[in-house]
Structure formats: C-alpha cells, structure tokens
Symmetry: C2
Subunit: 370 residues, 2 copies
Amino acid sequence: MAITYELIKRCSQTGARVGKLYTPHGVFDTPIFMPVGTQATVKSMSPRELKDMGTGIILSNTYHLYLRPGHQLIAEAGGLHTFMHWDGGILTDSGGFQVFSLGPLRKITEDGVTFRSHIDGSKHFLSPEKATEVQMALGADIIMAFDECVPYPADYEYARLSTARTSRWAERCKAAHTRKDQGLFGIVQGGMHKDLRRISVSDLVSLDFPGYAIGGLSVGEPKPLMYEMLAYTVPLLPEKKPRYLMGVGTPDCLVEGVMYGIDMFDCVFPTRVARNGTVMTSRGRLVVKNAEYARDFQPIDPDCGCYTCRNFTRAYIRHLLKAEEIFGLRLTTIHNLYFLLSFMKNMRKAILEDKFLAFREEFWSHYRRQ
Amino acid sequence: MAITYELIKRCSQTGARVGKLYTPHGVFDTPIFMPVGTQATVKSMSPRELKDMGTGIILSNTYHLYLRPGHQLIAEAGGLHTFMHWDGGILTDSGGFQVFSLGPLRKITEDGVTFRSHIDGSKHFLSPEKATEVQMALGADIIMAFDECVPYPADYEYARLSTARTSRWAERCKAAHTRKDQGLFGIVQGGMHKDLRRISVSDLVSLDFPGYAIGGLSVGEPKPLMYEMLAYTVPLLPEKKPRYLMGVGTPDCLVEGVMYGIDMFDCVFPTRVARNGTVMTSRGRLVVKNAEYARDFQPIDPDCGCYTCRNFTRAYIRHLLKAEEIFGLRLTTIHNLYFLLSFMKNMRKAILEDKFLAFREEFWSHYRRQ
C-alpha cells in the first residue's frame, strides 16, 4: 500500500495523537499542516524555501490544474512532482469542492458534474472516474475521492441524498483507481447530522481506504458546531488510518482538531492573509501594514526563528507592502507558514510528552483571534 | 577615501579593463553590473538570493526612498543596508533623473528643483544640498551628485547651460557631503556635444571625485551615437578612477561599454523584462510566455547554471506566468540577473586573458536583439 500510517503515541486525556505517515515521497510526522499550492506553486514560495522551513506535504488543486495547464501536460512533464520540482509529499483534492463552489456554473447528476471554467467559460465534465483519472495523471502521493461537500446550512433530506451519492461515488473512485504508487482517501460527509456522519463513515470504511478525510466542515457553520461534529465523527474512524480535516488552518481550529484526533490539515489561510499583510504570532494576528508599525524596528515575532523574523523588521516589511513590492508578501508568507509548521511541531512535542492539555490551556490563555 | 579603484589589467587592443572597486561593504571586481533595487528591494528577490548569485553592488533610488518610506525613517533603522538587510555594496542615484522625468510636475531653478510626488501629489524640493543630505541619511557606499540629465534631443544652447549648471551643482554637492564612509561620484553631462562633454569632464575632474559617471546616454539616442560619445568621453577621464555608465544593461551595450573602458553599469532592463516573461539567453531574447513553450520541458537556457535553469522547465515557468503566479516572475528575474552577472564575469575573464576582442566578436556573431 502506497500510504500507511503508524500510530506512535496517544494522549492519555484527549483524542490527540502523534503518528507517522509513510508516502512514496517521504515519511511525515503527524499531526501535520499542509501548505496549499493551488496552481502547482505555493503562492510566492520556492520549493527550496518550503523544504528549508520543514514542509512535508503540500496540497494542490485538481480543478485548477485540470483547466490550466492541463493534467496531460503535467503527465508529459513527468507528473506534478517533477513539473514543479517538489520532491516532498503532495496531496491533490478531487476538484469536487471547487466545482461545487461554482454555483450556477455547474449541474449535478448521478453521473457527475457539468461545469463551466472560471477562466474561459468552456464546458467540462467531472465524474468520480474522470477526477480519479486526472489525479492519476497528476501523480500526487495522496489523492481524494470525488465528493459533494454538503453546503451549510443544508436540510436533512438534501444532506442524506448527497451523502449517499458521495458514498456511491467513493466506490466508483476506488474502482477507477489503478495506480499502486498513490493512496486514495475517502471523504466523510453528512452535513451537521450525526446519523448521516455515522452512515458516511460506515459506507467509506467498508471500502477500506488507506485514509479518511472529514469534509463539509469549516464551511460557514459556527465553530462549536464544527467541534461537536468532530467529537462525534473522529472516534468512528479506524484508529490505524490517518484522518484529514479539510480546509482548516487557523491556530484555534488546529488545536481543537488535534485534540479530537485529526492528523492532517490544509488551508489557504496562512498564505492568503500573508498577502494582505496580516501575520500570525503567538499572541494573535498583527496587521503589519498598519501605520503603527511604520517605525517599528522589531521583527514580526521576536520569538520566531523564520528567515523573515531573523533578518527583517516590521518597518521594512510594512514599507514593502505599502510600496506593493513582491518581496513584502514573500516575507509575510514565509513567516506565516513557518509559524504554523512550528505550531504543529510544538503540538506533536506536547503530545509525545503527554502534555497536550497543558499546551492547549496555555494556548487559549493568551489567544486573540487569528 | 571610502571608495578607491585599483586597475588590474588593461586590454591591449581596446579600452576594456579589469579592476577592483574597494568600498566599505566589500571589494568588487569590475566591470560590474549592478541590479536595481528602486524601493530598497530588487523586485521579487531576497538579499540571500542576490548574494547566492554573486551580486556585489545594487543600486537604489533616492527619489523613491525620499518619498516612501522617507530617508529619516531609513536613517532611524540604521541606514539602507540595515533596513533592507543587505551587507553588500549599495549605490544611490541622486534623485535628479527621476525628478527631471516628472515633466510638467517639476520646475528647475539655479537653486534646485521643485516637484510634485507621483504618489500623492505633495510638493517637494530637491537641490544639490538636499539630495546629498538625503543620500547621507540613506548611507549608501557610493552616492551621486545631483545633476540634470540633458534630454535627447537637446539643442546646443540648452545643453551648454544645463551642463554648466550640473558642474556648479556638483561643486555644491561636494561641499555638502561630509560622510567619510561613502564616496560621492560626479556625473558627466554635455548631451551629444563633444566639446560640452570635454568641458563637463574637465569641470568635474577639477573637483577630484573618487569616481565618475557618464550620464545623459541611453536616453533615446541611436546606439551608434551613444558609442561615439563613449569613445570620445571615456579617454578624457582619469585612469585611476572608476567609470560608471548610468542606465545601461542590455548585453550589446554592456559589451560595447566595456570595450570603451566603462567599469560599472546599472539598468532595470533584466528585472523589468523578466516580469513580463522575457528572458535573456546567449542566443538572444526568449519570450517564455509564448504558446510555443507550453510543452517545452527544457530549461530556459541549457548552458545556464542558475537556480531556475537547474531546476525548472520553460513549460512550468510559462504555466506560472500565465496563471499570474509570483513564483514565475521570481524564476525569470533570477535567471536574467544571473545571466547578466555571468556575462560580466565572462568579460572580466576575457580581459584578464587578453581575449576581449575575440569575446566581442563571438558575441556579435550570434547575437539577436535582447
């Protein structure tokens, strides 16, 4: 099997756990945060910079790469790893989430989804088989089953029909998936309905995937509701398989996700806000573009060891951002990714030392909204 | 003296020469190309990347830094080197060129130039004393006298009066310049009039600057006319001082400039065209954004040793540029700067081996417009 998971240590008081994720491109410690490289690049970053800061796996988006430059072109290049010169792990999503987000531009049937490109309006069709074929061409280490992300809010009947279809689609993805050097993960749906979550888990686990994602969370629902769904759903999943919470990447949600037993996370949050001049610190957000930092000659976070904080001041970064210089958003992106990767590392350490609850308490004691 | 020049080797057949430029931030081999970092950053590049590719000195623009973030703020930060975390050499221009380029937004008197900011329309005044004060606050290794760049074309009488004023201004700059850890260069003007060039050189040399720039070339005149002015002017300059040709950076002009005895060059050309998807190769320009490179899995230049060419294909770079990804223009910028720095290195080597004319002949034999 291309993807295996080894459970190393369980927290004695919570669901938190440390493990190792074995992939064709390396072994990665979990819980792990995966930076997002939508278009075969983590925005503004070089592969070398990602590697230097300890990035293990990145996520790339099938929908975007399918449309541009095209999965066949990437296959001709030798696959996504070679194309983008990244020899670490890669996970691709199925394209489902993006396609469903197109709203009036898409139409769903049992067979799949017809949609129009956001780039040029051209018509396309994605199905479980097609999404799997595209992801096999891209050649990521971990690929995702084609699902419908149940929107929030969704009534019970919609969620029930959609979730059942996602299960049927997962089966079709599995049948279509023939590459032995990549692992196909199933995605648990079910909206905010516990019984549907239970059914979804049961359907997917019967297909025996090498890992399971929890989809349909962090889609607009209140955070306590997300936590409630996690608390209910995660324990239903097999202990020996990695669990991936899709689209989550703020420090508060990472801490809580880890507590409930999640092993993998991805989110555009750290890179997106960085480009707007917002940086994360252990004390919460800091909008480095603000006038108050014009003459502030400290680093973003004096406790941080990233390239940005070791060498550059808030005043300089603010100047670059105000002057619309690319290097400014490179510096904020480097910091935010390093911050989150370190944050995960600290959580792993706390779990290994069986001090996770203390870590969480300390985190919440000085947390301001990130 | 903060800036000294050591002549190492003279070409036996042309004016070309190899030397060493001693500055408070390092000793640099000449002829040298200086990348432009207008707003205290070489667009898209980190200081580490610049250092890694062998950059010695960069140029930064006084006009831009005076307006934003302000020279006082940079002085508070510890000077430009500290502010931008660059421990190599820095040369600042005087702001004159930018201010004169503002056209109707500026007014010239004997005292100086009143102008309006291109950022917010606010009113400002630059004079020889003020430009020198600003450059002392910025703290570059080499600073430039405040001059008027005679436009092209300019009638004789305009050029004569302007050039004479530039000489008077040079004297005022020298009187105002009190920092011992930086060198102030004079700028030769005179338009396309040889006798005015001769007078300008004579005026400036009598002030005994540690180096001399040749201004007012590469301002729209035909290249043969620029070369004619260089052939006439350079030999008038003292052999023991460095000579800097401002605003020149295409390979053809670099070869010819070196042949006439120029030691220093700067230009936005390599970085600006890189951001538009044009890259330089030993065989001329290549517009990597073009459709013909969509499936071209070779590097930009198979003979190039830069980070870009060692690791990435034309197809990938084209994809990034089409998708408007920042990393695309980082890669083209890295390549173009590396290309020009290597080009200078090869010229230095040719001069040291007394093979410069052969180098030049070889260059022109396969040169297409860059």
